[in-house]
């Protein structure tokens, strides 16, 4: 993946660059807004990561300018301003995701990867399929190996979220935001229990192949059993 990182804090940037390179990505770095704008307008990137407070041109204006040029590369904002309202402001400006500082690298990585493979929101899907697991979004039925699985509404939404991001790591915060729409982190790990409940329904009865994995220190991933 070719990633543009626009971040003026050289220290923070170097860690992020190192981590992204370790994960097999190619990173270009700009240390101010204008430089970032230049790069974004001249090269083709898979994902752009922007700090909100930048010298010369601030993050939100930068995003505005990029979007005006019809560049629809997924953009993730990094910001010390972590309140919900600030997030909304960032998303309105044209960003696709918003991550508050301090963040864990696995969170950033997971979000970048999800952004890269984000399904086009304009195509309304009616069914999802991951390996032997299938979901009908209209009839709200879930089948694995042809056997129907009975899910609670919340379990359905959780599985839908995971299936849309199959074979990618999804963090707890992403689940809280995406499935429950909570922008805070209940320190006790409530999500773990939800996942193990779901696992008991989609994995346990189908002995043999596990699909729902816990990625230690990072989150969860629904992987194809093919």
């Amino acid at each position: 993946m070719h990633i543009l990182l626009i971040e003026d804090d050289i220290n923070a940037a170097s860690y992020v660059i190192k981590g992204l390179k370790e994960s097999g990505h190619v990173v270009d770095h700009a240390s101010n807004g204008e430089e970032g704008e230049q790069l974004a307008l001249t090269l083709k990137f898979d994902v752009i990561v922007v700090d909100r407070m930048l010298p010369k041109l601030d993050g939100l204006s930068l995003i505005n300018k990029i979007r005006k040029e019809d560049i629809d590369t997924p953009i993730l904002i990094l910001s010390a301003l972590g309140e919900v309202d600030e997030k909304v402001l960032g998303l309105k400006a044209g960003a696709d995701d918003y991550l508050a500082k301090p963040f864990s690298f696995s969170e950033l990585l997971a979000r970048i990867e999800v952004l890269n493979r984000r399904t086009n929101p304009e195509i309304k899907e009616t069914s999802l399929k991951v390996g032997s697991l299938s979901m009908n979004l209209l009839t709200r039925q879930v089948h694995r190996q042809g056997i129907e699985i009975d899910l609670q509404p919340r379990e359905f939404r959780l599985l839908e979220f995971l299936m849309k991001r199959s074979n990618q790591v999804v963090t707890r915060t992403m689940l809280l935001e995406g499935v429950w729409e909570y922008h805070f982190d209940p320190q006790t790990n409530v999500i773990d229990v939800h996942i193990s409940r779901l696992r008991s329904k989609i994995d346990k009865p189908f002995d043999g192949k596990e699909m729902l994995f816990t990625e230690r220190g990072a989150g969860y991933a629904l992987r194809s059993d093919d």
């Binding site: 309202d85 429950w180 209940p186």
Partner: protein
């Protein structure tokens, strides 16, 4: 001072006008009498006039008559001793004013007589004086004048004295306040401004400033406690991290134990970051520096969602989690803050509720306020600790060994404060703790 001056002015005007009225009255009477006498003279000639005057002199009469010839020789009248005692002043408007002193045998003045009247020349031969004894009036006038003068002086004096005493007192109090302020500025926050029993503005000011100082002092102590606690709470995990790293470095580890140590360190650092995040969240909510938006929330849905989030965990821990809210209750508030507040309370209720715990979450519309409660059937909190647990970093001895930042309830308190509500910790019946959040519904 101004008051005294104006009083004096009014009194003086009063004096002038009454004395002028008085003089005019006398003058008029004298003129009337002399007109009568001139008619007598016209009709009965000198003889008649002399006889009339002799008659008047014998009868009790308020007037004084003196008729003299051109050589100033006394002819008739009720006052004969003209030469020695007269101290005659001729007034501009044709009147006369004269006085004489009645002396006793030792030559001391016993009484001073004053007369006011007119002098007529009759046929170039006689000199007639008709006058009125104004001794008493003059006496009154003098008394009046003296009284006014002395009263005015007294008032001025008292005014000046009172003003001096008052301003002296006032300045003393101000300088006492100044002095105390300086001492407080020098760092003695326990000092208080002097107050008195009277309830004037200055005392009010002192009382208000003292209340302000009390509040500031409380905040300062709170801040100090918080920073002490931060230092303590952060030193512990940092120490742990350091030791962990040090020990790993000392041994001869393989890459797997490096990984293990690094994972542990990440967990420890995460807990430090969590503490900082919570602290920042509290201060942001408390200072209101963030433009936290309020919207119309259905508390029923809000509770349903949170219970939904916590229910699997509760079940896993053998805790029964009930949602007691089954009607729509609307509230103007910040959804994220309220969700987090209730979530924190449920977290606590599950964490500290012990075994066979039942956690109830509910809400009720009390007309002017919305009540939200989270109760458990655990050991509860002793009364003496109930205030304390709302403070930052308070972790009761009973909870020392469980994870947590000690900021959960402070965060709830700040979020409820943001909604101008109150938080109350009460004993649940028959046992356990019930936390009541009361949020005014406009």
């Amino acid at each position: 001072m101004l008051l005294a001056f104006s009083i004096g002015l009014v009194a003086f005007y009063l004096y002038l006008s009454t004395s002028r009225d008085f003089q005019t009255k006398i003058d008029n009477e004298i003129i009337q009498e002399s007109i009568r006498l001139s008619q007598v003279h016209k009709r009965y000639k000198e003889v008649g006039l002399i006889r009339e005057i002799q008659y008047l002199s014998k009868t009790p009469n308020p007037n004084l008559y003196i008729l003299r010839d051109s050589n100033n020789k006394f002819i008739a009248g009720n006052f004969s001793d003209t030469d020695s005692l007269w101290n005659l002043t001729r007034l501009e408007e044709g009147g006369v004013l004269f006085s004489f002193e009645k002396k006793n045998n030792n030559g001391e003045t016993v009484r001073k007589y004053y007369f006011r009247g007119k002098e007529f020349i009759v046929r170039n031969k006689y000199n007639l004086i008709v006058a009125r004894d104004v001794s008493y009036e003059n006496y009154l006038k003098e008394r009046f004048f003296n009284t006014i003068l002395s009263t005015s002086l007294l008032i001025i004096f008292l005014g000046l004295l009172g003003g001096y005493v008052l301003s002296r007192n006032f300045l003393n109090r101000i300088s006492a306040i100044n002095k105390t302020s300086l001492e407080i500025m020098d760092g003695d926050l326990s000092m208080r401004l002097p107050t008195s029993s009277n309830n004037d503005e200055l005392n009010q000011l002192s009382l208000n400033l003292n209340n302000m100082l009390d509040r500031l002092n409380k905040l300062m102590i709170g801040m100090k406690d918080v920073s002490d606690n931060i230092a303590h709470d952060l030193r512990t995990p940092l120490n742990k991290i350091r030791t962990n790293l040090e020990v790993t470095l000392m041994s001869n580890p393989d890459s797997e134990s490096y990984r293990e140590t690094i994972k542990e360190v990440i967990d420890d650092v995460d807990s430090v970051i969590n503490t900082f995040n919570s602290l920042l969240a509290i201060s942001r909510v408390e200072s209101g520096s963030v433009s936290l938006k309020k919207e119309k929330i259905n508390i029923k849905n809000l509770i349903e969602d949170i219970v939904d989030l916590w229910e699997p965990l509760a079940e896993e821990k053998g805790v029964i989690l009930n949602n007691e809210c089954d009607i729509d209750i609307f509230l103007e508030g910040n959804k994220n803050l309220l969700s987090q507040a209730i979530s924190n309370l449920i977290d606590n209720a599950i964490k500290y509720g012990g075994v066979e715990n039942i956690v109830n979450v509910g809400s009720r519309d009390n007309a002017d306020s919305i009540l939200i409660w989270v109760s458990d059937t655990g050991p509860g909190i002793q009364d003496k600790d109930k205030e304390k647990v709302l403070d930052r970093f308070t972790r009761l001895d009973t909870s020392r060994n469980t994870s947590g930042t000690g900021l959960g309830l402070s965060l709830v308190a700040s979020m409820i404060k943001f909604h101008k509500g109150t938080i109350e910790l009460l004993d649940a019946k028959p046992k356990g703790l019930i936390v009541k959040l009361q949020i005014p519904s406009r």
